[in-house]
């Protein structure tokens, strides 16, 4: 299992070389969105309207941070469970989304879209939200401020630690890892 430092947004060749179980430190810009924002984005795509964020090559982090205390870039910001975004993710991947960060296994429909269009799914450590917030140096709400924690934010991340959970070649650390340690 390899270890990489990568810049976000991702290039197609970055996604292609990643395998389930690899460790990646991400630096650059990523976007946040969870249930409510995904619903809105998919509605806009279906209506043929412009989106409030670029999708090509981008990474979406499934997170609803806690409120930002004075003097900090962001509140605690760990991943939320990804399967709730499964109904929306394939359409975003089709429109160029190249990476997702969350926790928990993805549905077959998402995996199919990842393999077809070249996208990767990363796992961040759930509940390590104070630690992960230290790797976020700036956060700016770019859409749907009325959604509060669920607003779309643009995050600047430095060495943000993730693990490749499901890759674009069908690799799946949940299945492989659990099989290895089951008795």
């Amino acid at each position: 299992m390899a270890e990489y430092s990568m810049t976000a947004p991702l290039k197609p060749e970055d996604v292609d070389k990643l395998r389930a179980g690899d460790k990646v430190n991400l630096t650059g810009f990523i976007y946040t969105a969870r249930d409510a924002a995904h619903k809105k984005l998919v509605e806009l795509i279906k209506e043929g309207k412009p989106l409030p964020l670029p999708l090509e090559g981008q990474i979406i982090y499934y997170v609803g941070p806690s409120p930002t205390p004075p003097g900090k870039a962001i509140g605690s910001a760990g991943p939320t469970t990804s399967f709730r975004m499964d109904p929306y993710a394939p359409l975003l991947i089709e429109r160029g989304l190249r990476g997702m960060i969350g926790k928990g296994e993805r549905a077959p429909g998402v995996v199919e879209a990842m393999q077809k269009h070249g996208a990767v799914y990363f796992a961040a450590t759930g509940g390590a939200a104070a630690l992960l917030s230290k790797r976020i140096t700036a956060a700016e709400v770019i859409a749907y401020p009325e959604l509060g924690a669920e607003a779309i934010r643009r995050l600047t991340v430095v060495n943000f630690p993730v693990i490749v959970a499901q890759d674009c070649h069908g690799g799946n650390i949940y299945r492989e890892g659990q099989r290895q340690y089951a008795r």
Partner: protein, 336 residues
């Protein structure tokens, strides 16, 4: 013989009854001569005793309750409890998967950052679930108990920069913006104290809860199978290493509440009933043999503990409920 005994007792009782009033009267005659002023004072408690046992109610102010709930809401989200920290350290020692070990290290580092910087351990600061044991000789003054608890949650979550994750309605889905209402479970218990547990419960682990109304014929094997299957299906979603709360028996709703109540117990403490202590140990082994591991990425430590809360149940029923807590297993308690 029985009749004879009864007969012989009756006159004895009669004698005693006849004698006693005479003694009382004699005392009553003497008492006023010695301490005239004390007489009304002595009479009052005697009258009260006739009406039934009276112990004075201990007063607990609603404001004090709100203050304590506000403080515990913040502490539960910033300071990992000692039993959880110790369980994570034991888990780090026992885990053999390199990725799993790294996750344990991240969780311990995360706990230190959260404690030192007073930041939430997890961004999902949860539904505020509050368990209350209210002594029946305690009296809440200056407000209503539930309102005081909600006031504490409101203040703790607002002043503590905790996330507001509560919607006022499940289908219309509008955020109440102060994390109220809390979910409150109150029991009336002996004594004059009020004990509170603040248990912030995140959505990721709560969504993996399950209940089954098993057939009595399914027995203990059916219970084991259901608990293990619930944890296997939950996989990475509830943020393992988890604490598994299991309710067995009771009615449908009591079983579910007991599964959550089981999460209040100190991790590492033995069940007081040896039968259930053994079952907890066996379930923990079965769950860890699933190989789910920290964050579901594979490993030997899937659960830190299994806690069972059993209750009497109907002859036709064998309810079993599973309520999973994430590795933070947030819980704080105070006695007022």
């Amino acid at each position: 013989m029985a009749k004879a005994k009864r007969k012989s007792k009756t006159p004895a009782r009669g004698k005693a009854k006849a004698k006693k009033p005479a003694k009382v009267k004699a005392r009553a005659k003497r008492a006023p001569r010695r301490v005239k002023k004390a007489r009304p004072v002595k009479k009052a408690p005697r009258a009260a005793r006739k009406a039934g046992p009276v112990s004075p109610l201990r007063e607990i102010s609603a404001k004090k309750i709100a203050d304590v709930v506000a403080r515990l809401s913040m502490e539960a989200n910033y300071d990992l409890e000692h039993d959880v920290l110790e369980a994570l350290e034991r888990g780090l020692g026992a885990e053999i998967s390199p990725v799993g070990k790294e996750i344990f290290n991240q969780l311990l580092e995360n706990a230190a950052i959260a404690r030192n910087e007073r930041m939430p351990i997890c961004q999902d600061t949860g539904l505020a679930v509050i368990f209350v044991d209210l002594g029946q000789d305690a009296h809440v003054t200056g407000g209503l108990l539930d309102e005081a608890i909600n006031e504490g949650v409101r203040r703790g979550y607002t002043e503590g920069y905790l996330r507001k994750s509560v919607l006022g309605d499940p289908l219309r889905r509008v955020n109440t913006k102060d994390n109220t209402p809390a979910v409150i479970h109150t029991r009336i218990v002996p004594g004059d104290r009020l004990r509170l547990w603040v248990v912030p419960k995140g959505g990721g682990s709560e969504n993996m809860s399950k209940i089954a109304m098993l057939k009595p014929a399914d027995g203990i094997e059916g219970v084991k199978k259901f608990v293990a299957e619930s944890v296997r299906i939950a996989s990475a979603n509830p943020c393992p290493p988890i604490v598994v709360g299991v309710g067995i028996g009771g009615s449908f709703e009591q079983c579910a509440e007991n599964a959550k109540r089981a999460l209040l117990r100190t991790i590492g403490s033995a069940h007081p009933d040896a039968f259930y202590a053994d079952l907890e140990g066996e379930l923990l082994r079965i769950i860890n043999d699933l190989g789910v591991g920290p964050m579901g990425l594979g490993g030997r430590i899937t659960a830190l503990a299994v806690h069972i809360e059993a209750a009497p149940c109907h002859i036709a029923s064998l309810p079993v409920a599973v309520n999973i807590n994430c590795h933070a297993a947030r819980h704080k308690t105070a006695v007022l």
